[in-house]
Symmetry: C2
């Protein structure tokens, strides 16, 4: 007999005989019958299994503890008037793996802080079952959007010797014995003895390599892990996270915003369509109004406004800002919040002061701003950041000099401007930030299976 | 006017006006007209653009060099009797980005060795255009298989402090200053000063964390980069590569083989359906007979045979083996080749001698073998390796002791056997090995965008 997943039972309810493998979430035993709530992780919803005294091992089943893995054979009974649309009347219930009394995941409310201490067990709770299912479905939504639009998925390297992101933000990697490092005559580490023959890091971005592929495939995206050494313990920072970095040839800033808007709506719709029970769960127990928030995004026309006009708007408000808006500076969290509330939807802020943005961004004709864009969304602030790239080699070289970007090891990147260069644009989106937005979860530690943060690298 | 991608032109040929952005691959100028072959990377096939003397910048176009990026407006003309099913008669051709005479990618045969020296430009060749498109489509095929079968995509951590894979095979990572490492009283590096407060590595496998998620979601898979420090320069080794590691609860060795076989067929079919031009290209220019090889896999019933029976079979052959087959040892390349030829298709070799396999594999009742399985495919040898996992805690602990696996930091993993454990299985597939199989490419350096191998970490 083939196994049936609980998700498929609920998707297509019919009265039939089924074989279920799952874990016990609760067991309410009475004198003549009992109820097992079981879950197999295919959907956040539990299945109610009714077992009766007539079963030869009734007494034994009555004592099954929470966490036990079981085989259940039985008949689906549709219960259209009950809370659950169906239940299974067991003809056989067998314990596969026992679970002791001191099992940490009991059917009660656990704090998220406690669950982080048992990160290997927390996927067995409803909350993390829903969050990590949404994470998985969202990842598929992203791949689905880009692949159906002809993008090439490119695996840019993680290990790099091109020190282009600022090596102080990158982890060093080595195969050398740290307790006995080979030293050169200058007393410094002799990396010629290391595996790659020079110093190496794990990177914080695949953008530059991504650009080289966009110059061959037109439209590409990366989706992979990213590393930062930031020693900061906030709700939104982790030292390891996943990022999506699309890069499009023959695409300017306006085209970039079209893509960002279309992609976000696609992924939100994909998740709502493919993880409806999990979105319902988060709407009920994580962020009240989550579904309305997401539906509003689907129906919104995203506003496009320049950084300059944003500052005008902020200054024109009859209110005191904690951080005074400035034409030359970044905008603060309070400004972001005001903007998405003022426009009642997502806002693209464009054309930022060039001194606070990266060296590869396209310098505008005013020579004061760059063709960069941040997408702000209600309640969460910045969700994506991107720009048109500077395609003019001379301007780019000047910017690199101004910003002290080391040109050594970068000639390959500059070749994209030498050999058939073109207007092109790209953006980056932190995947965990998207997951937090899609679930309502407010701490990045709860949006990633095994979070790595300063002083925290368990499992 | 909206841009049309060249792939879409060929997919749905009709006489219409189009706007193309692409790069010039060849330019054959004659007195009164000329032909540009252009490619935008959406498909390996080039588009022929005819430009005539009547265009105001005809003389200029005639001099466009290889590599130039262009805008082409024109009319599609169907040419059913020609080599190409269509061409575009230009009404406008504009250079967007120039390309100098010394552009390394000229329309001639380049060696793969040369192209590795310009890895940032090689995607502009037909070969790498095809290979990396197949790579992208195969990645989507993998996600598509697992997601449509209800698996959870889990991002297991790359950074780890759990020294479970054997730390000598892993890269150390650190934020400490290597030229001035803090030392403890024992003269050794004081990792309490490091970002995570202890020594950390980047991992070679997500299996163990994957198992913890399988115990909650039933069916999970990972798909991400993996690192090995092996100092070996072969055609099949790289220090950074991508791997897929599915893990299934309530699944035994037979079920595991069913899944491996179904998945491989699904992905091959997905790639043949979604990258037909690229598969045709590889069939013509990389591995003659590629399509037949792949089609044979689709139609094959994979053989299942134990390691013991394999050795019987090898010894029964009337031939001299370079490596004498042994019931206690691994099988050699020559044996693998014999097996797939003998059975004329893929072969699962099961139940391996336990002393040459990993500690987490299920010990069989004979106490001599483990429930492990390698999948061998014609021409390539091992493509996947997996096993049923030892779910019995006592047996597992004994195996860890025998094989000197450090139990410290592993209690979280052992919890999967304590709390509702069950029969479960999983496998690993190196993604580059699959790509080599799908394209006929014989060197891993040509199956990955920017290969990392000993002494080689450019770009």
């Amino acid at each position: 007999m083939r196994r049936t997943k609980i998700k498929d039972l609920f998707l297509d309810p019919k009265e039939e005989e089924v074989l279920i493998y799952a874990w016990v979430r609760t067991n309410r035993a009475q004198a003549q019958f009992g109820f097992l709530n079981v879950n197999d992780g295919s959907v956040v919803t539990n299945l109610q299994v009714v077992y009766e005294q007539t079963l030869p091992n009734f007494a034994e089943i009555s004592k099954f503890r929470v966490g036990v893995s079981v085989l259940v054979k039985g008949n689906v009974i549709l219960t259209p008037n009950a809370k659950q649309p169906l239940e299974v009347h067991a003809t056989e219930v067998k314990m596969l793996g026992d679970c002791p009394e001191n099992y940490p995941i009991q059917p009660k409310r656990h704090t998220k802080e406690f669950l982080r201490e048992v990160a290997h067990l927390r996927p067995r709770t409803n909350l993390f079952n829903a969050v990590f299912r949404i994470r998985s479905v969202a990842a598929m939504g992203i791949h689905s959007y880009f692949q159906s639009h002809g993008y090439l998925y490119v695996h840019t390297p993680l290990i790099t010797c091109a020190d282009c992101e600022g090596s102080d933000q990158m982890f060093k990697i080595t195969t050398l014995n740290l307790n006995d490092l080979p030293k050169g005559e200058d007393g410094k580490v002799d990396f010629s003895k290391d595996l790659f023959g020079k110093q190496a890091w794990i990177t914080g971005s695949g953008q530059l390599q991504g650009e080289t592929f966009a110059m061959a495939f037109s439209d590409i995206y990366t989706f992979g892990p990213t590393f930062r050494t930031e020693n900061s313990n906030t709700q939104t920072h982790a030292n390891e996270f996943w990022m999506i970095e699309p890069e499009m040839a023959f695409c300017d800033l306006e085209g970039l915003m079209d893509i960002e808007e279309e992609m976000l709506k696609y992924v939100i719709k994909y998740v709502m369509d493919n993880a409806p029970a999990e979105i319902d769960f988060c709407d009920a127990f994580v962020e009240k109004g989550l579904k309305e928030k997401l539906t509003n995004i689907l129906n919104a026309k995203f506003v496009r406004i320049s950084h300059h006009d944003v500052v005008d708007l902020l200054l024109a408000q009859n209110r005191k800002w904690e951080f005074t808006p400035s034409y030359l500076e970044d905008i603060a969290k309070e400004h972001e919040r005001f903007l998405t509330e003022h426009f009642n939807g997502p806002v693209f802020v464009t054309n930022w002061p060039k001194d606070i943005k990266a060296w590869y961004m396209k310098v505008n004709p005013d020579n004061k701003t760059v063709a960069a864009v941040d997408l702000l969304v209600p309640k969460a602030g910045e969700l994506m950041g991107g720009s048109q790239r500077e395609e003019d080699l001379d301007v780019l070289l000047k910017r690199m000099e101004e910003l002290h970007v080391d040109r050594a090891n970068m000639e390959w990147y500059l070749d994209t401007r030498r050999y058939g260069g073109c207007v092109h644009s790209g953006f980056g989106m932190g995947f965990e930030r998207l997951i937090m937005y899609l679930t309502g979860i407010d701490n990045i530690r709860d949006a990633i299976p095994y979070p790595r943060t300063p002083k925290n690298c368990e499992y």
